[in-house]
Symmetry: C2
Subunit: 90 residues, 2 copies
């Protein structure tokens, strides 16, 4: 699915990301993908829930995937971080 | 599904919950449900990922659900909190 439908969750206030998702839907997207890693995963779930309960009442959670991403640091060290991908659809 | 197959994620170290899930599988459960609310949601995803990558290699994520729970406080106030339910199966 195109990257333009994807909202990456970071450390900004939750409502910023809610607005980004709602804007995607209002500009004609049928699916919006919410992605997050690490501690931002909880916020991603909040965003999906707020969007469908308060703003886009006919939106549903179509799919949720979790996986482990391997981040490589300096000197060849690696760290594992969990990620989530929530597909919200209307 | 029976409550005995459910591991609730709180504020303890992640590996405590990983051990609880692995113990459930080793005592014969085919499905283990990992539940969390609020900020513990990220940890729940970590637990599921660590269990299936490091300990129970034939385990798969069978289902993931997210929802909003309404908590009622004193004096009739309410707060919404997101929750997640991850079903890991082998």
């Amino acid at each position: 699915m195109a990257d333009e439908n994807t909202v990456y969750i970071g450390k900004k206030p939750t409502m910023n990301y809610v607005l980004a998702v709602v804007t995607q839907f209002n500009s004609g997207s049928r699916d919006v993908i919410i992605k997050a890693r690490g501690r931002a995963i909880s916020r991603a779930v909040d965003v999906a829930e707020i969007v469908r309960h308060r703003f886009i009442h006919d939106a549903v959670v179509k799919d949720i995937k979790i996986e482990t991403e391997v981040l490589s640091g300096e000197g060849g060290s690696t760290a594992n971080v969990s990620s989530i991908e929530i597909v919200v659809s209307k």
